[in-house]
């Protein structure tokens, strides 16, 4: 694997010399398909799209595919491998090297999603990364690589856009459409106004028919004859407690400054 990763690094450096590939700040291709999952035209299209996103949001969005990250290498963890690729190739945008990378290793169907840089870490929270995973994993399950990578880019762009507007997607800050929020505001304000006006209206209508005669019960006029309280049976309901996931929100970061997730696709 060390040889393959080294090859990958060489390819990336070679790509730097190719005048066709006009990459942004990091000088390296956004899409590196060593596993040859994508036809050339689709790879180019994804490359251009990633470049547009990177330039618009000053955050690199990278896709890397390899046949087997463990082959001839010391890596036992795909996330670690991805982090090394990110660091050693100087990936990322700007001085903070903001970037997100999706790496696929085809032999065991491993993937790693890593995030680096202050802005990228704020945009791709733990909850946002979970949303991002859900966007592409369904496609990879059916070997639909192009669709999966396009979904990865689209969802990344969406999360970057939210972060840029000051409302990064996180637990407790669920996104909702503007119309939905307006509807909630209108409903709540009408409800409060309705309650207040209802109380004031109630003061205008005081003639109400009586339905009881409690005030006319004779003194010591209640004689209870039968009082039966009989236990019949008990029932029990058992409900599983679902483990809570990052209910406090935010982005968890390791000692190398990366946040991320990995797994099987």
């Amino acid at each position: 694997m060390k040889r393959r990763v080294s090859c990958l690094l060489f390819v990336m450096m070679l790509a730097m010399l190719l005048p066709v590939m006009a990459v942004a700040d990091s000088q390296y291709p956004y899409v590196t398909d060593s596993a040859q999952l994508l036809p050339d035209n689709q790879q180019n299209r994804l490359e251009n799209r990633a470049q547009e996103i990177a330039e618009a949001y000053q955050c690199g969005v990278y896709i890397v595919t390899v046949d087997d990250y463990t082959d001839d290498s010391h890596y036992s963890n795909i996330a670690r491998c991805a982090e090394d690729i990110f660091l050693e190739n100087n990936l990322g945008y700007g001085t903070d090297r903001d970037g997100i990378m999706l790496m696929l290793s085809m032999s065991e169907r491993d993937y790693a999603l890593i995030v680096y840089g202050d802005f990228a870490l704020s945009a791709f929270t733990d909850y946002g990364q979970e949303r991002l995973e859900n966007a592409f994993l369904d496609d990879f399950k059916f070997d639909d690589w192009t669709e999966g990578f396009e979904d990865f880019l689209s969802e990344s762009e969406h999360l970057l856009n939210l972060a840029k507007s000051g409302t990064p997607l996180d637990v407790g800050k669920r996104e909702g459409s503007v119309f939905g929020k307006l509807a909630v505001i209108v409903l709540v304000s009408c409800l409060i106004a309705g309650i207040v006006c209802g109380v004031l209206l109630g003061q205008m209508r005081t003639a109400v028919k009586g339905s009881h005669a409690t005030q006319y019960i004779a003194e010591k006029g209640v004689h209870m004859r039968v009082r039966t309280d009989q236990f019949t049976h008990s029932t029990q309901i058992r409900r599983k407690i679902e483990p809570k996931t990052s209910s406090s929100g935010g982005t968890s970061v390791n000692s190398r400054g990366f946040s991320g997730r990995s797994g099987k696709f």
Partner: protein, 378 residues
């Protein structure tokens, strides 16, 4: 998905029994007793049988008691003691009829009716004083006209949706003191109510939340005695108004005397005791069930009545005149009636609503709330 199971209790100490896979028996962790499944099932089958037998015996007892009661009750209200014999007092009584609403008013010789207190018609026609029952009781007016006028003015204050011109156009000085005829009903209600009640406890392990619900068969049966349930005997007096100005303090209830009438009008009854009795029946039934429910509700988390049975033993009916200050006023071709309890001062009446003011107030609350909410949400 939550699962539901039925627990058996230990026959020795009533703690929950747990199934031990090793021994295949049901064991109590508290007292150490252990039973086979078949022993427990047989025990519970026996318990259920005796519970059913007890329930059947209780039902039979209840039916027997009900049969005894049935012989006594469901008779009509007892109006045998009502009388139309005014004696010498009748000579001094005058009667008036309102040609607009049909009100029949009586008063003493010294009092004159100048307008109808119900519809405000200024022309009332003298009529024949005859056929009127002599009241058994009267509660004299405790509050005078000045107090009634002040109370009505105060009633208008602070009513945001009241049209501005209503209070100014109101002929508030035309407020009149009227003795309104009431039937006062004595009786007993025998109520038998069965409930399904529950109590629950919550527990928690590291993996599960456990809700244990104990189910109970609850029965309450008893007698509730009522005294002088008032039902107004005048068709022209809206029941809602008369119910709303209750209660009257019966400590002031006096045997009827002409001495209380001067200066006030009295309405003649035009709803019979039997007709009014239907309302008294309903109020007595509802209160009897409420008493039975009140005896159970505090002990359980949920208490749902599954069977209600009320038998009424109808007693005597008395005829009384109770004091009410009344004002009938017209606004935009609609009649508005205000009634004040002439003894306690409780005032009721439905006011006209200015819908323009309503919507302005609604907007004046909704818009600032929406503006503040948008600062936080958007």
């Amino acid at each position: 998905m939550p699962s539901q199971i039925v627990n058996y209790q230990c026959p020795a100490c009533t703690a929950p029994l747990e199934f031990e896979e090793g021994s295949g028996r049901l064991a109590c962790q508290y007292c150490g007793s252990s039973f086979t499944v078949s022993e427990i099932e047989a025990l519970y089958a026996e318990k259920n049988e005796s519970a059913e037998a007890a329930a059947v015996r209780a039902e039979q007892n209840a039916e027997e008691a009900a049969q005894v009661l049935e012989q006594q009750e469901e008779a009509d209200w007892d109006t045998s003691e009502l009388s139309d014999d005014w004696g010498a007092d009748g000579a001094g009584m005058k009667a008036y009829v309102c040609p607009s609403c049909g009100a029949e008013l009586i008063c003493d010789a010294a009092t004159a009716a100048t307008s109808c207190p119900y519809c405000g018609n200024p022309t009332v026609i003298p009529g024949q004083f005859s056929g009127a029952l002599k009241p058994d009781y009267v509660i004299p007016f405790r509050l005078d006209k000045a107090a009634a006028v002040a109370a009505l003015k105060n009633y208008y204050k602070g009513k945001v949706f009241l049209p501005k011109e209503f209070a100014s156009q109101n002929n508030i000085q035309q407020i009149k003191g009227v003795y309104v005829p009431f039937w006062l009903f004595d009786g007993e209600a025998d109520a038998d109510v069965v409930f399904q009640a529950t109590r629950s406890t919550r527990g928690r392990t590291s993996k599960e939340e456990i809700i244990t619900t104990l189910h109970y068969y609850v029965r309450r049966s008893g007698t509730v005695s009522f005294e002088k349930i008032p039902v107004d005997a005048s068709k022209k007096m809206p029941d809602a108004h008369m119910d709303a100005i209750e209660p009257f303090d019966y400590a002031d209830l006096k045997p009827f005397s002409m001495a209380y009438l001067p200066g006030f009008l009295a309405d003649k009854y035009d709803v019979s005791a039997q007709e009014s009795g239907v309302r008294a029946d309903q109020r007595a039934e509802n209160s009897a069930i409420a008493v039975m429910t009140g005896d159970t509700v505090g002990r359980y988390e949920t208490c749902v009545p599954v069977r209600k049975q009320v038998r009424l033993k109808r007693g005597q009916v008395k005829y009384a005149l109770l004091p009410v200050w009344m004002l009938s006023t017209k606004y935009k071709d609609k009649n508005y009636l205000f009634a004040m309890n002439g003894q306690t001062g409780k005032l009721v009446g439905n006011l006209p609503i200015s819908w323009g003011k309503f919507f302005i107030t609604f907007a004046a609350i909704a818009l600032p709330v929406a503006a503040i909410a948008s600062l936080f949400v958007l």
